[in-house]
């Protein structure tokens, strides 16, 4: 009896061992991967003084995109499936550190492409290195206008730019001027005449402030600019100065990122400077993270903010899925830079597949130029590049290798603790959700 039982047990064990490899293939979604992986470097800030929260969100999105692509059998080159391998590097928000990480990406990790970058200073410092080494790169968050053709030393301002050193760097985040244009047009339409801009002393804040300053002045508004250091906690002395000015400002525009903007906006509200009936509060896009925003800016009701990316009510299926996954992980709404980072990996993967090579940077970059993909933020394409080198008169040089359609809207909270999914889209008119271009504090749309 015992012998028979032992025999049956052995048979079961053998059967299990035989089935095991089959079950592993099943677990991989029926994909067989070639040994070589496609390495994509993700350059994000994961330590202070960088925007760590932003970096973690971007890192999560980059890895999520790789997982999603790998679940769909990765990138197919010459009939073989290649899995994507993500290598994350911590820029710390510092240009020097960013350069060191890119050097490591190129020399040690031998990445096939790069994405990420939150801080403009890091983008500006690393783009020439990436370009010179022929590494196809899709930046997903730096806004500085010069993070493209403008910022390349060799660029002389006249297309075509073949061999001018602007071949491999692309951007799917908006340039500061694209965002500034929307914000200023909205405020000018509202009739503001006395503007206070509070800008961070960085490669993002200063050019963005200069751009908006010029636009406001051109529209006849009086502008006062105040520069602050990123990481400052106490803004009360400088806010008291605004409060003491002879004329109450019509708007206080915050060009400060991350948690610093939360501190600034909350102190502004606590002192009764803005938002008030007389003064509009326009805070940074991080306000879109409503969970964080309300925890840190409990008095920030009626603040408006610019939002990059498709408005929540128009989210595609991909965006909804991504948002759900993000919410599960971070209990907040997916920010635009996470969506852009997610999409950037897909753009790179698609280009590598079409180029049919992981090592031919020029072929991959040429393929990126002809991208035509519908992803979480909408349809991606690059209007100007070596495939279409003639920029029409008046088109800014940053449009070279720039995704031209990031949706920039103005949104506004009108209830304490409101989710950003329910916040009002107030500008441009075509996207308005509550039929108004501004909700005066104390009222409801």
């Amino acid at each position: 009896m015992k012998r028979k039982s032992l025999f049956i047990h052995c048979l079961v064990l053998i059967a299990l061992i035989a089935v095991l490899p089959l079950s592993m293939v099943q677990a991989d979604g029926h994909c067989e991967f070639a040994e070589d992986t496609v390495k994509i470097g993700g350059l994000v800030p994961l330590s202070a003084p960088g925007a760590v929260a932003g970096g973690i969100a971007m890192s999560w999105a980059i890895n999520r995109a790789a997982d999603d692509i790998n679940a769909d059998c990765g990138i197919t080159i010459d009939g073989a499936n290649h899995a994507i391998e993500i290598v994350i590097g911590d820029s710390e928000g510092s240009p020097e550190r960013g350069q060191a990480v890119v050097e490591r990406f190129i020399l040690e990790d031998e990445v096939d492409a790069v994405t990420g970058v939150y801080h403009s200073a890091v983008g500006l410092a690393t783009m020439s290195m990436l370009d010179e080494n022929g590494v196809p790169t899709v930046f997903s968050e730096p806004w500085n206008d010069n993070v493209s053709a403008n910022g390349i030393m060799e660029y002389d301002g006249r297309p075509p730019r073949n061999a001018d050193g602007v071949d491999h760097v692309f951007r799917v985040s908006p340039a500061s001027s694209m965002v500034g244009g929307v914000v200023v047009n909205w405020l000018i339409d509202l009739g503001v005449g006395n503007v206070v801009i509070i800008a961070e002393n960085t490669d993002y804040g200063q050019p963005a402030a200069a751009d908006e300053y010029a636009r406001f002045e051109a529209a006849g508004a009086t502008v006062t600019q105040i520069n602050v250091e990123l990481g400052t906690e106490d803004f009360v002395p400088i806010l008291s100065r605004i409060q003491a000015s002879a004329e109450t400002p019509d708007v206080v525009r915050v060009l400060v990122t991350g948690e610093t903007s939360f501190n600034l906006t909350q102190q502004m509200a606590e002192l009764g400077i803005a938002p008030t009936e007389d003064t509009i509060c326009v805070t940074n896009q991080v306000a879109f993270q409503s969970e964080q925003y309300w925890q840190n800016v409990p008095d920030g009701n009626y603040c408006a903010f610019n939002r990059v990316g498709i408005i929540p009510s128009l989210f595609s299926d991909t965006a909804v899925e991504l948002n759900d996954a993000y919410f599960e992980e971070f209990e907040d709404i997916v920010p635009s830079y996470a969506m852009a980072s997610y999409d950037a990996v897909f753009i790179l993967a698609d280009a590598i597949e079409r180029a049919g090579s992981t090592s031919d940077g020029a072929a991959i970059s040429a393929a990126i130029e002809t991208t035509d993909l519908d992803l979480s933020q909408g349809r991606y394409y690059f209007e100007y590049g070596n495939h279409n080198p003639e920029l029409p008169e008046g088109t800014p040089a940053f449009m070279w290798h720039q995704w031209p359609d990031p949706v920039v809207t103005m949104m506004q909270y009108f209830e304490q603790g409101q989710s950003s999914l329910d916040a009002a889209v107030i500008y441009p008119a075509v996207y308005q959700t509550h039929g108004t271009d501004y909700i005066t504090p104390g009222s409801s749309p």
């Binding site: 973690i56 906690e233 002395p237 008291s240 606590e270 002192l271 009764g272 925890q295």
Partner: protein, 512 residues
């Protein structure tokens, strides 16, 4: 006086002063001068005589060196200042009011006085404790008159004198400011008094909270002689302990009562205090005690590295556990801001309104109460006296039955606890992230050195001074676009000046 003559005077003055400084002490015949005319007197005479009257001045003192001991020096100084200032005024701006000459000459006189007066004190074998500070401030504030006050006699310049002279100097800066930046809110009537008071109130409120953190740092230093580089992270974890305690206590109470309950952040302060006190005590026993027992060779380096390491450990552990997203607790009080209403004193003179954010005012009160409680503990309790005794002389304290090892542990635990309490007091005010301590700890070092390393009252005063200087600096800077960006630099300027003029700090002991 035409411009070219003024320029010539400006150029010639320093040249002759340099010649006088070099040659007069070497050339003045010893037989003609009495023994009271020292080498420094001759140097001073060379500079002043040369600057004021060129070769005539040098010749005068060469022929009659004893004149230096009389009023001649003061007269020469006055002439020199007058000529130099007039020349400067004319060259820089012919329309500038001549009354500004003293203000323009302030830094020059501060430099001259700080060079000569302390030497004069030492030559006279007088106490020169505050001589440098008094000379610099006095030179800046009242120009050559400081020589008249201090040259003939060598009085001991008291702290009160320094305050008076410093105030005079500040008044001069204010006057200069008022003339050159008439639209600045700090000087533009009729709002300036309200505005200055508002900024001073901002500074006092935040400065009191700075003080609480700095007091902990200075306490550790005074007893152990160790500068804790983990202080910022202890401040940070204090905030997080408060945050998580409030979160969980709120959840538990909500479950028990069936209604949403939020716990006031004031309760987070004692919780953070107890946890970090224990944490500090354990760290001290394990890592710092061997240092005091002679088991470590390079004690100073070890103390820096081990506290640095502790700080890193705390920061990155918190990052791993709490994540990078900013946190904030509920308010202490449900009053967004206090507003002291406008008070009309005369038709043209009014005051207010002054706004103070409610939670900040509350945190200030918490900070002040805790500092005074600590002072009471240090002054009145046996343990507090034992701590002070250990900080003054460890061996003598041991002879009287005090256990210095226990005092070391207590001081580190107490200091850490104070940092944690200030963190717990500030988490309703600022967004809290794992690296929030970096900015605060840098400021704390400035405060403790400014107040005097090891001095608790010094840390209190230093914190308030730093708070006020930062607020006034950011609020009064002529260029509003830069004022906020330079906020921390203003405190560093004061810090540098204090280090230069009084290296022991405002309340520091001469010898530790």
């Amino acid at each position: 006086m035409n411009e070219s003559f003024a320029t010539w005077l400006l150029l010639a003055g320093p040249l002759w002063a340099a010649i006088g400084l070099y040659f007069l002490p070497r050339m003045a015949p010893k037989r003609k001068r009495d023994s009271a005319v020292s080498e420094h007197d001759l140097q001073a005479a060379g500079v002043v005589g040369g600057f004021a009257l060129g070769p005539v001045g040098i010749g005068l003192f060469y022929l009659a060196p004893n004149l230096i001991r009389r009023f001649t020096l003061a007269a020469g100084i006055t002439i020199a200042v007058f000529i130099a200032a007039q020349a400067l005024v004319r060259v820089s701006d012919p329309n500038l009011p001549s009354a500004l000459w003293l203000i323009l000459a302030g830094p020059l006189w501060a430099g001259i006085a700080s060079y000569f007066i302390p030497r004069r004190y030492r030559d006279a074998e007088a106490i020169d404790t505050n001589a440098l500070t008094a000379a610099a401030l006095g030179g800046f504030a009242i120009g050559p008159l400081i020589f008249g006050l201090t040259w003939k006699h060598t009085p001991r310049i008291s702290r009160e004198w320094i305050i008076v002279l410093g105030s005079l100097g500040a008044w001069q800066i204010y006057t200069l400011f008022a003339i050159h930046n008439a639209t600045n809110p700090c000087v533009a009537a009729p709002f300036h008094l309200t505005y200055l008071t508002q900024q001073t109130a901002n500074g006092v409120v935040i400065g009191s909270i700075y003080s609480l953190m700095a007091v902990g740092l200075t306490l550790i230093y005074s007893v152990q002689g160790v500068v804790s580089f983990a202080h910022g992270q202890l401040y940070m974890v204090g905030g997080y302990f408060s945050f998580y305690f409030l979160l969980h206590a709120g959840n538990i109470l909500s479950e028990l009562t069936g209604a949403e309950v939020s716990v006031n952040p004031i309760w987070g302060i004692p919780v953070a205090a107890v946890i970090v006190f224990i944490m500090g005590a354990v760290f001290e026993r394990i890592f710092l005690k061997p240092m005091h027992e002679g088991l470590i060779e390079r004690v100073s380096e070890y103390a820096i590295l081990i506290t640095f390491g502790f700080g890193f450990f705390l920061e990155y552990t918190t990052l791993a556990i709490a994540g990078p997203f900013p946190q904030r607790t509920n308010r202490f009080i449900e009053i967004r801001r206090f507003t002291l209403p406008r008070t009309q004193i005369t038709d043209d003179f009014f005051f207010g309104p002054i706004h103070i954010i409610g939670d900040r005012a509350f945190a200030m009160v918490v900070g002040i109460v805790l500092i005074f409680a600590l002072l009471y503990f240090l002054q009145r309790s046996w343990t507090g006296r034992a701590l002070r005794a250990t900080s003054q002389d460890r061996q003598a304290a041991a002879v009287t039955g005090i256990n210095p090892t226990n005092m070391n542990t207590l001081s580190f635990a107490l200091g850490s606890m104070l940092a944690a309490m200030s963190g717990a007091a500030l988490i309703p005010i600022f967004n809290w992230v794992p690296w929030v301590g970096a900015e605060m700890v840098g400021r704390s070092y400035v405060i403790v050195v400014l107040g005097g390393l090891g001095s608790v009252p010094g840390a209190l005063a230093g914190g308030v001074i730093v708070g006020i200087v930062e607020a006034l600096g950011a609020g009064c800077h002529p260029d509003p676009s830069r004022g906020a960006a330079y906020k921390e630099a203003f405190a560093l300027v004061i810090f540098a000046l204090v280090l230069l003029l009084k290296p022991t700090g405002l309340f520091g002991r001469e010898h530790n």
